[in-house]
Symmetry: C2
């Protein structure tokens, strides 16, 4: 019998059982504020009628993703999974809070909680730092604080940001991530009070529109990051785009290269074609997997666009649209298994390059 | 020798030699305002260092696109072209003016000018109405006023709108267009003072970013139009998306269908899969044509996505990135010539369905 394909799951949403689990890691005045006012933003979608998480993943005493035992049964041991990147849950909304110091303190508390109460629990766990990106200085400090922990592999940033990620405002965050060899992972996040609209023509009307259109901020980030020249400034910067699809990247590579030929003097820092930066500095999560009527069409499109080496697996457990590896395999060729399920991610995460 | 392929060019930017050409069609107080203050928004890109129009298309006494003789020499007689849809130029910025009555008056003046001074000039000309979409009532009135003119085939709307086009605010415009059998053509437009940002994370930093990212508002419009159910309400509504590419539509069709299967109760007006509405109600301009290193890859992607019957040709003359048919043909198979250059557009424009 052939050895089963080893799997790195790049997207598993762990969370705390209740906010009380963060109390030991918070100083005043933030502790009192959390106790009295909570996070101050909704943790569930404001669109009605949708359960964003698997109902069967909810333990009795907390939200889905908060119970290690259940995660072990439903995911880690079941599939099985060799490594899991814990990407957090509602905590990511703190980048959409109007103030800066409180969410920075919450991020700091969460990161310590992550290291002490999750990463220590299971050898398969890898960590994703959360940041209050509206406070770049504090965010960078978090990266330097935890970046050399052998199991911390990335920072998690919402795909939709108030300014483009390529803006100098965020450069301290990108610089710290590149220096500490952490991947910058962009996730589709529940909008909070200070979140930008998800599309250039305003907020989607419902969760169907919203979920179908989540790639728009990723597309904007990718183009502006490349043309800004940040990958020349920070050659070690690596961006993983989760949950937003990837066929659109073929559209962008071909259009960007064409436009660059005519307009290259507008991006003077570049030394090669935009598509070369994209293929070198971006990976894309395959979940939620596209489901064309004829499964082979997906392979056709990916191969034509040359994206097959830029795909990584993330299950998105315990969200409603989570994909298990065998479901992904229905739409992608067996020959890509090792790349998508292990090698592509392992080539990026520092824990695999420099094992502890 | 085989008969040359007949060509409908769906995107040629005509314009007036100077604003004085609109004076005969304007009443007070708008005439004085135009004389004294002009349009009140920039007609050229605010990003520096870019000539948005072919330098050789500029006549001595006006901007590129204002001279019928030059358009005849450089485009109509040269290629030759059988039909041209005149899509206007800076006038489209009027949807991005902060007020409503003045741009509505300008739109009305332009439409009369178009009919009297362009459509009468050459049998090959077809017309695209301009509208101040921030004034839906006046915009609908313009559609009813000119919609039965045998050579008026469409209305031109900027791709990026303040609210989604699917919003009830714009329904009078869509209803009028469907009733008068006019195509709704979305164009990439120069932003004006009240234009929304081009991306969900803010304005692109330069014209390279901007030009590479123009598809974002088209993507949002397409998804929200479909899920709103407007194509059930207005089965004759047809949307042509020019200059924004189309590979992203494959991403959206596959993702939208998948999401719809789980979330269909959020779009209760739909009677079939989202991709079926997309293939029935949307056409995409092939200019600027994608230029993958291996030309055949473009065909591979289009066929995998099933978009080959939804493409139309528009040269975008006299813009800098205009494509002539032979350049398009380098990247697309000969078998698609009749569809892309003639049949697909002819099946939608009323002038071909009911010749005068």
């Amino acid at each position: 019998m052939p050895k089963a394909q080893a799997i790195i799951d790049c997207d598993v949403h762990n969370t705390y059982r209740s906010q009380t689990e963060l109390y030991p890691y918070l100083a005043e005045p933030w502790l009192t504020r959390l106790k009295e006012k909570g996070f101050g933003y909704p943790l569930e979608t404001f669109y009605s009628n949708v359960h964003a998480k698997r109902l069967d993943a909810k333990p009795e005493n907390g939200p889905a993703g908060s119970d290690y035992g259940l995660m072990k049964t439903q995911l880690l041991d079941k599939l099985p999974i060799d490594y899991v990147v814990l990407t957090g849950e509602g905590i990511s909304g703190l980048s959409y809070m109007p103030d800066a110091e409180y969410p920075a303190a919450l991020a700091s508390a969460y990161n310590q909680y992550l290291v002490e109460e999750w990463l220590s629990k299971d050898e398969r766990f890898l960590g994703s730092l959360h940041l209050a990106i509206q406070h770049p200085e504090a965010a960078a400090a978090e990266i330097y604080r935890w970046g050399s922990h052998p199991k911390v592999v990335q920072v998690s940033i919402p795909a939709a940001t108030t300014l483009p990620l390529a803006h100098p405002f965020y450069r301290p965050i990108l610089r710290a991530a590149a220096e500490m060899d952490l991947v910058v992972a962009l996730h589709f996040r529940q909008p909070g009070p200070s979140a930008p609209d998800m599309t250039p023509v305003g907020m989607p009307f419902n969760y169907l529109d919203y979920h179908t259109l989540v790639s728009l901020p990723y597309q904007a980030q990718l183009v502006m990051l490349v043309s800004s020249g940040v990958f020349e400034e920070l050659p070690n910067l690596k961006v993983m785009m989760m949950e937003g699809g990837f066929i659109w990247a073929i559209h962008l590579m071909w259009r960007f290269d064409k436009d660059y030929k005519a307009l290259h003097r507008l991006a003077p820092a570049l030394r090669k074609l935009p598509s070369e930066y994209i293929l070198q500095h971006f990976m894309f999560g395959v979940q939620p997997i596209y489901e064309p009527r004829e499964a082979s069409k997906l392979q056709d499109v990916i191969e034509a666009g040359g994206l097959q080496h830029n795909l990584v697996f993330g299950s998105d457990y315990p969200h409603w649209d989570a994909d298990e590896p065998d479901f992904i395999r229905r739409y992608l060729p067996t020959a890509w298994d090792s790349g998508i399920f292990y090698d592509n991610a392992a080539s990026w995460f520092k824990s695999f390059k420099h094992p502890a």
